[in-house]
């Protein structure tokens, strides 16, 4: 059975629905407080997938995700390194994505997690917004391996996907043009904000002003993945904002992401 550790701390809010989404995808889940990891009561290396859910860890004080990122970096560095070295999977959603980026785990082009290569900062609207967006997968890049999807979390996903965003600090900015070029070239841009027809548009389609409409990225191994939209909030059709206009049954677009991660873990881990 694929085992998922869902990390929570002060201000983690989306832990239960994230665990529920993994449960629907066939995994076994456990909610674990960061203090339990720091104290050594639990070890992340007993699990196959590590999920950092959405919320406002430590109130988003100073900058969103920053304090938890530092906690992971300074207090759990060795565990984390081993987890990643073993090729296990990490997903960060919304606040979790902010944590991964600010800890240097994404995009990690340098390979040693020491460099902060991008950020997620205040929306251009300067406020929190909850709205549904359309997403399309980014291009697969060039060179070896570009015939396949890089990200193991989105294999087999095609077309335009619809998920909600709910954040105040989701504007993705790569640190340099070089970082952006490399993200593109290596096919690490997993999702872009688009309109319903798959075309890039301005606000509100790109809800925060992200550079190149970037909504989610993965690391060069494709196993560490972060995104601002909330796939766990669209695992059932009835969560869709206009399900009364079409179909009430079936699963939501977001479920495929959890299924894809779990099935990869089942096969290879």
């Amino acid at each position: 059975m694929v085992k998922v550790i869902v990390i929570r701390t002060a201000g983690t809010n989306c832990d239960r629905e994230t665990a529920f989404a993994f449960h629907l995808a066939g995994a076994e889940t456990e909610l674990v407080h960061i203090n339990q990891l720091v104290r050594g009561d639990k070890n992340m290396n007993d699990y196959h997938i590590l999920a950092i859910p959405g919320g406002f860890t430590y109130g988003d004080d100073i900058a969103s995700g920053k304090i938890l990122a530092n906690e992971l970096k300074y207090k759990l560095e060795q565990d984390l390194e081993r987890f990643i070295r073993d090729g296990k999977l990490i997903i960060g959603i919304c606040n979790g994505f902010q944590v991964l980026v600010k800890a240097g785990l994404l995009p990690n082009l340098s390979g040693d997690f020491q460099e902060i290569e991008a950020t997620l900062t205040l929306n251009d609207s300067a406020k929190f917004e909850d709205r549904w967006v359309y997403l399309k997968k980014g291009s697969r890049g060039q060179g070896p391996g570009s015939r396949k999807d890089k990200c193991v979390w989105t294999k087999g996903i095609n077309g335009v996907m619809k998920l909600p965003v709910a954040h105040g600090e989701g504007k993705f900015i790569p640190r340099t043009d070089k970082v952006l070029r490399q993200l593109k070239k290596s096919g690490l841009i997993v999702f872009e904000y688009v309109d319903e027809n798959g075309r890039r548009k301005g606000y509100p389609h790109n809800p925060n002003g992200s550079v190149e409409a970037i909504a989610g990225i993965c690391d060069p191994t494709g196993r560490i993945f972060g995104l601002m939209p909330h796939p766990e909030r669209h695992v059932a059709r009835i969560q869709h904002p206009s399900w009364t206009r079409s179909n009430k049954d079936g699963s939501g677009d977001g479920l495929a992401i959890f299924q894809s991660g779990v099935s990869f873990a089942k096969k290879y881990l």
Partner: protein, 952 residues
């Protein structure tokens, strides 16, 4: 040593905060004079720190290395040609960032850090005078109730000296009436002479004078806020004496209805009803009006924070799952020069309140899914801020009882001087001096503290580690311990209470309303296990006393007895208030309306009325989907921007069962007749339930009365009438009240004049829905479908949005026939459950025309409507403007998939075919004479509806 760090955006990066302030300055009318605004975050770090520590802290914590730069010491960013305004919190005001920053700096391994303070600095470029800068600062950038402008060198205020214990006695047993009144006034006790005399009597018997702590305890417990003396007292009305208005109206209906699914009503911190065979749900709505008038952001934030603790303190503790908010503000375009002295501009109040609810609710991870926002000039000095919360708790945890010998444990935030006298302050009128006199009542919340408390309380509950729980709300520990120990008696050692800073007096500790605290009673055998549950997640839980069994309240400070009173006196000693109430129907000027040929312009203007217009700007700032259970969201339709009638949430992700939340409120009707205002609010809340597919037989409602000063007989008369309507309606509809609250001094005093708010009753409704997949939204679905009006329209234009738009109030208020309304709603509910209805919308503000327009543009479809149609038997012939804009209650517009089935299912109910949904974008209405009286398009209607609050 103190280090000053400044963080700002690097050149070339978009400064969203600065831009947002620039926009606010523009809205003040100074836009042309401002070229640029830059935002700078300031940190003051104090401790044994070296240069390299500061660099470490800045680079690895305080700045975003991608977008931000920092500077420290001397190197400050007062660039030439900018004017700097720096804002810092007043000493003693909580800044949650300081806690987090301190923790994070320690995480970095920097041990020398002792204190962190923050400030906000704005660099403004432009041709502004000193006076204009000052005006911008006062109107936009800071609020002197909690903040100050930093001038000269910034520093960290030294910690106050430790408190030197001194017990004061008030000489009241020999005091004259005049002296008693003086003591009450000077101590901000807000106690009447009768009450002071009751206290005098009690202590005369004891043969001693009361201590400061004793008098404060009585003042808190007997305050209108805690005791509801008006509702529970004697009222002389219409030649009769009403002994306890609440018991004789609102609660009486519930008792007589005796619904088996009502688990706990009017007893606990919220009302509890059955959800399914494993869970119950509870619901509470509170107001936080006076704090929000003084400090909108903090007032509203602690309003939502406070009401979340109600379900958390209900039964053995419920998990908070949905927030609601309803606001009433002055007009957003109120002229600045006509603002009452001391009042904050309604627009700033609105922005602050919305931000306060947003930041607290979102951080708590609770969806804010239902609400309303209304405007009237009489709310200018005294806005209304209603905050609600729904919780879920396992079946059989609805009741609690502390045992003799249990320990009194305070959990969560530390106690500070914030929020002293909140309960008594809210029981008085607001004046222009309120901000100086009562400023200490206002607080800034710390939602993350409350989230931690919630997470850990629920764990402790599931482990069975405590016997009872309640929240620290108004009156602080005095109310919480007083309530829990009412039957048993309690002793508390005030010096054991953890403090935010030194210097608090013993009586301040006792009545402080510092946020994010809960009180639990714990079996001494379980205290070790309990403490470890909280410690594991960095929450403080401190034993401060025990429940004794001697039915006395005894308080100690470092061993000295500072309070010793019988619980019975504290809780039952308050003398009954006797008040007079009269009510006379006011007469308003009646407009004379000439029939027009074209109503398109009227309809477009109506769409832009502030009460009708889209509130998307607010709704989107709230996370309405966190926890994943959202089924019907507040914004609906093809482009997800139509106004839904009610929200639906599934609290259990593995179940189809859900909760419908709705609310009814009519500020304009209250001016004409509070009876029909109340009846209309109940009807509105139930209409919304019905419109989305709910069954009102499973609905329960909450009352929140907000009134003017009820010492004035005419105000009280209105309250009596509204309460009577609550009984009359609830009884016939068969819908019980399960909880409620009143706020009765909503007046703004200016010299000899006062502005009273319109009498306002908010009805909040919670309904259990078995199959949420049967829900219906309000957006038109398919061209060709027939549109029907359900329910009778009457010439009831008094208090309508149409009259308001024309500058009138009028007199013919909409009435309610609850027997007819109930049968109509039940029939419609059955019809919706059969799947015959494609969309349904209730007719409220703006009447049928507004409802149809919203339905059309939310569905991105046109509509072809004819007012000439068969008229139900008892219907008089109505003029076009009445048919279009009357706000008669108990009406719906519905889009019907199968007319034959619809007419069969709705037999016996007055329905009226209006026309059909059309494929184009034209919204067309033919009047009673057969001529077209409205021809416009849905894009225009939608634009008019969105315009007022588009770019706030």
């Amino acid at each position: 040593m103190i280090w000053r760090v400044e963080v700002k955006e690097k050149a070339g990066f978009y400064d969203a905060m600065g831009q947002s302030v620039k926009k606010d300055i523009h809205d003040l009318g100074l836009g042309k004079k401002v070229k640029e605004v830059k935002y700078v975050q300031v940190y003051l770090l104090e401790g044994d720190l070296e240069d390299r520590n500061i660099k470490d802290i800045c680079e690895n914590l305080l700045i975003d290395p991608v977008t931000q730069d920092y500077s420290y010491d001397g190197n400050v960013s007062d660039e030439k040609c900018y004017k700097a305004v720096e804002v810092a919190y007043n000493p003693g005001v909580m800044d949650p960032v300081e806690d987090s920053a301190l923790k994070a700096i320690l995480d970095l391994g920097v041990e020398g850090i002792r204190t962190v303070r923050t400030a906000k600095k704005y660099l403004i470029k432009g041709s502004l005078s000193h006076g204009e800068i000052r005006s911008i600062a006062e109107k936009i950038l800071y609020n002197k109730v909690i903040q100050h402008l930093v001038t000269g060198k910034s520093g960290i205020a030294p910690e106050p000296p430790p408190y030197k214990f001194q017990l004061n006695h008030f000489n009241i047993i020999n005091a004259s009436n005049k002296a008693l009144e003086r003591i009450s006034k000077e101590g901000q006790l807000f106690m009447s002479l009768d009450e002071m005399r009751a206290v005098k009597q009690y202590f005369k018997k004891l043969g001693r004078n009361p201590t400061d702590c004793e008098l404060e305890t009585i003042a808190q417990t007997w305050s209108e806020h805690c005791k509801h003396k008006t509702f529970r007292g004697l009222i002389e009305y219409d030649g009769k004496i009403i002994d306890n208005l609440l018991k004789n109206t609102v609660m009486k209906a519930t008792k007589e209805l005796a619904k088996p699914w009502c688990v706990s009503v009017f007893k606990d911190n919220s009302g509890i009803i059955r959800f399914d065979d494993k869970y119950d749900v509870c619901f509470k709505v509170e107001t936080h009006n006076h704090p929000s008038a003084l400090e909108p952001y903090g007032g509203a934030g602690t309003g939502i924070g406070g009401v979340i603790r109600d379900p958390l303190g209900t039964g053995m503790g419920a998990k908070p799952i949905i927030n609601t908010d309803v606001f009433c503000f002055g007009l957003p375009d109120h002229p600045y020069n006509r603002l009452p002295k001391g009042a904050i501009h309604p627009k700033r109040i609105m922005k602050g309140v919305v931000a306060g609810v947003r930041d607290y609710g979102n951080r708590m991870g609770i969806p804010t899914s239902n609400g309303a926002v209304l405007f009237d000039e009489d709310f200018v000095g005294n806005p209304l801020v209603f905050c609600g919360n729904v919780g879920i708790l396992p079946k059989n945890t609805a009741f609690k009882k502390a045992n003799k010998g249990d320990l009194v444990v305070v959990v969560g935030g530390r106690t500070g001087r914030d929020g002293i006298h909140g309960a008594t302050f809210s029981s008085g009128e607001l004046t222009h001096e309120s901000e100086t006199v009562s400023g200490s009542c206002v607080q800034i919340g710390n939602p993350i503290q409350e989230k931690k408390v919630t997470d850990t309380i629920l764990q402790a509950r599931d482990l069975g580690l405590y016997t009872a729980i309640t929240d620290c709300g108004a009156g602080g520990l005095s109310s919480a311990v007083g309530e829990m120990g009412e039957e048993l008696g309690a002793e508390v050692h005030l010096d054991k209470v953890p403090l935010k800073y030194k210097g608090l007096r013993h009586d301040e500790i006792w009545i402080s309303e510092a946020q994010e605290r809960m009180v639990i009673s714990v079996d001494p055998k379980k205290i070790g296990k309990l403490k470890s549950v909280f410690e594991n997640e960095n929450v403080e839980a401190t034993v401060i006393g025990r429940f004794t069994g001697d039915k006395h309240l005894r308080l100690f400070y470092e061993g000295d007895l500072v309070c010793d009173m019988a619980m019975k006196f504290i809780h039952d000693g308050v003398p009954n208030v006797k008040r007079k109430a009269v009510w006379k129907k006011p007469v308003f000027k009646e407009p004379r309306i000439r029939e027009k040929k074209d109503y398109a312009k009227d309809l477009l203007n109506l769409m832009s009325m502030p009460n009708v217009a889209s509130k998307e700007w607010i709704i989107r700032q709230y996370d309405h989907e966190v926890q994943g259970g959202s089924v019907l969201k507040p914004l609906q339709g093809k482009h997800e921007d139509g106004p839904g009638d009610a929200c639906i949430t599934r609290p259990r992700l593995d179940s189809k069962k859900g909760i419908i939340l709705s609310c009814g409120i009519n500020i304009d009707y209250g001016k004409i007749d509070p009876y029909w205002m109340a009846a209309s609010s109940i009807d509105e809340a139930l209409r919304q339930v019905t419109a989305v597919g709910g069954n009102i037989e499973k609905a329960a409602i909450l009352d929140n009365f907000c009134w003017g000063n009820c010492n004035k007989p005419d105000r009280l008369g209105g309250l009596v009438r509204a309460s009577q309507a609550c009984y009359d309606m609830a009884k016939v509809y068969g819908v019980p009240f399960i909880s409620g609250k009143d706020s009765l001094n909503n007046e703004y005093a200016m010299g000899h004049k006062t502005i009273s708010i319109p009498p306002t009753l908010l009805i909040s409704c919670i309904t259990v829905m078995d199959d949420t997949a049967k829900a219906v939204t309000m957006d038109a679905k398919k061209a060709g479908n027939a549109i029907y009006l359900i329910g009778l329209t009457r010439d009831e234009m008094g208090g309508s949005q149409y009259y308001k738009m024309l500058g009138y109030t009028g007199n013919s208020i909409p009435k309610v026939d609850p027997l007819y309304a109930k049968s109509l709603m039940k029939a419609l509910n059955k019809t919706i459950e059969k799947g015959i209805i494609a969309s349904c919308h209730d007719c409220s503000d703006g009447g049928m025309a507004v409802a149809l327009a919203e339905m059309a543009f939310a569905g991105d479809l046109g509509m072809d409507i004819a007012l000439k149609a068969p008229i139900p038997e008892d219907q008089e012939c109505l003029r076009d403007h009445v048919l279009l804009f009357s706000e008669s209650n108990s009406r719906f517009v519905a889009e019907v998939k199968d007319e034959k089935k619809f007419l069969a299912a709705m037999r016996g109910v007055p329905v009226w075919k209006l026309g059909k949904v059309t494929p184009g974008r034209t919204f067309s209405v033919r009047g009673g004479g057969g001529r077209e009286i409205i021809s416009t398009d849905i894009d225009k209607l939608k634009a008019a509806w969105k315009r007022p609050f588009k770019d706030m």
